[in-house]
Symmetry: C2
């Protein structure tokens, strides 16, 4: 017997939204956040699911995010850059507001960038690139986080876990989407292991003396390591440059200095590139979408997997049967709804 309650996805989203509204978030903030947190839980992506509600409330309580922010599109010119200011709120409602502008610009110019400034960011990036694929566009999304990763060859936190996501639209079925931290592991994975009392795999982190460690707590007070050695470290540095410095927003070390804590959701910017495959392929032989399918088939034909396959499988189950939550999770949701901030450590 599984200790679990099944909730339809829509009902889960409503519960999350009610909790966030109860904690003082306005409609656009609570709605957009409930959708991404609900989507994380729906896709069995626990590190970006319900677990994140507490962090959101802590960040609101600490006064580090504006729960009543209304995002705003800035200076909508004819360039390839669409800029939206989150006005101190969360990134997600800003993205929802700007998405149609970005899609229009990418279709018209072939390529466009969305800059989100002055936002607090706590969610995965796959919702962003997946939303682009739903518009028939390919997309790349990236952002800093807070200093928690040592550069390859370094000894102290400097880079963020700096996620990189990519999406490619598919006519049938789920899009090709990847989204990963440029650290070996996501901070959430280390945090979950800390809570579960489990050791880390080798190579994930160093302690505060710069020595390798498998202790999650030592890793969280030391530094995580980039994936793929100097190559992952270079990609992470590129993300600081493009999605922090270039867009005039905070880098990961600046975020940490500003927040003074790694338990609050980080504030910074985000950079999203949108590509129109139709515009790029125009006048060239072959249909890009059909050709992409042949590539995916060749990957699957070797017994290799496409990224997000597990997430989509979980999604299919959730959509058909609802999301299964443990009684402890249900109880925590009830407490969050009844007590709001007071239910958060």
């Amino acid at each position: 017997m599984i200790d679990g309650t099944r909730l339809p996805v829509a009902e889960l989203d409503e519960r999350i939204e009610a909790i966030l509204r109860g904690a003082g978030l306005n409609e656009v903030q609570a709605g957009a956040l409930a959708r991404v947190i609900g989507a994380g839980e729906r896709d069995a992506c626990k590190s970006h699911g319900l677990y994140r509600i507490d962090g959101v409330l802590r960040t609101v309580r600490a006064g580090k995010v504006r729960p009543d922010a209304i995002p705003e599109i800035e200076a909508d010119d004819s360039s390839a850059i669409v800029r939206v200011n989150a006005r101190g709120g969360f990134a997600n409602p800003a993205f929802e507001l700007a998405l149609p502008h970005l899609a229009e610009r990418a279709r018209r110019l072939g390529l466009a960038a969305l800059v989100i400034n002055d936002c607090t960011h706590f969610s995965a990036l796959w919702p962003e690139v997946e939303a682009l694929t739903a518009q028939g566009l390919a997309g790349i999304a990236m952002c800093p986080s807070y200093a928690s990763v040592a550069p390859a060859g370094g000894t102290r936190p400097l880079l963020g876990t700096n996620p990189l996501a990519f999406g490619w639209p598919r006519a049938e079925g789920d899009p090709y989407v990847f989204d990963f931290a440029t650290s070996v592991a996501a901070r959430g994975e280390i945090e979950l292991r800390r809570r579960a009392g489990e050791p880390l795999p080798e190579g994930w982190a160093i302690d505060d003396a710069g020595e390798p460690t498998r202790d999650p707590a030592a890793a969280l007070s030391g530094a995580m390591l980039p994936f793929g050695g100097h190559k992952g470290s270079a990609i992470s540095t590129m993300i600081e440059l493009l999605a922090g410095i270039m867009i005039g927003d905070l880098t990961s070390p600046e975020v940490l200095e500003e927040l003074g804590s790694t338990t609050l959701a980080p504030m910074h910017g985000e950079l999203i590139l949108a590509f129109s495959p139709e515009a790029f392929a125009r006048g060239r032989p072959g249909d890009p979408f059909a050709r992409a399918e042949a590539l995916f088939e060749a990957i699957l034909g070797q017994g290799a997997r496409l990224p997000s396959q597990r997430r989509y499988a979980a999604r299919a189950v959730s959509m058909a049967q609802g999301v299964t939550l443990s009684s402890a999770e249900i109880a925590h949701l009830d407490r969050l709804l009844a007590e709001g901030m007071d239910a958060v450590a």
Copy 2:
């Protein structure tokens, strides 16, 4: 005593150009190729240095590249996409021709893409992104190669070594540039080890039965592995999608099918993104170039290195003292000049 002859960089470039002209390449092809091959040797980047001349000549001899091609800018519209057709020649003269167009477009729109179609590509990508940084622009370059890398979890070659390069301009000194294969190692590194009779490090490759191998020859007839496991594999797949399929050019498996050999330079396309940091940072606090310097200082302050540092150090020596070549290398250059194609195995 070192068995070596020092050649000034300009003289080395001239010798390479004379060899290529002698082998039938026209002025734009030979000139652009000599510059990138010379730059590789100058930067002690041996796998993209003189060693590449033989491959160029083999590819010409096999009729797989047009030595007399004149690249052409196509349909120069107002979109964010600049397209240049290499017309069956090498990528490098096409890039040189298109660079001013790309730079102008990126300055005007903030962001622009250069698509190079129908080219043969054999050089590193850092010359491209470095050229963008010299224009005050940041850049990302990527291209497929030929099927030689198994996707993570796969057993056979499918992806290319699919290089990814990035550059950020610096007011003083050399730009921040990285350029690496998304395989654990570049094919050239394995080839050099094969020639030297050295075993490969663990984790670089699988043999043709899909089992791990340290034998360079077995690796070359089996498959290389992507860097960073499934993350590197995903990035490599993204490169197939964006810089192969999306731009209407060949993917790595298609290149191999077309060429029928991994000893010839691959033909495909290339995608280069150019960003204007000034346009992106406009209206935001802080100077992006000064802020980037602070980030680089923080990296160096931990004892970590910036990518390309070794290359720049070698370049400084080469510029001051000339490039040191062994007597065998000099003899081979002499043979190439005297005998042309006949000097190539």
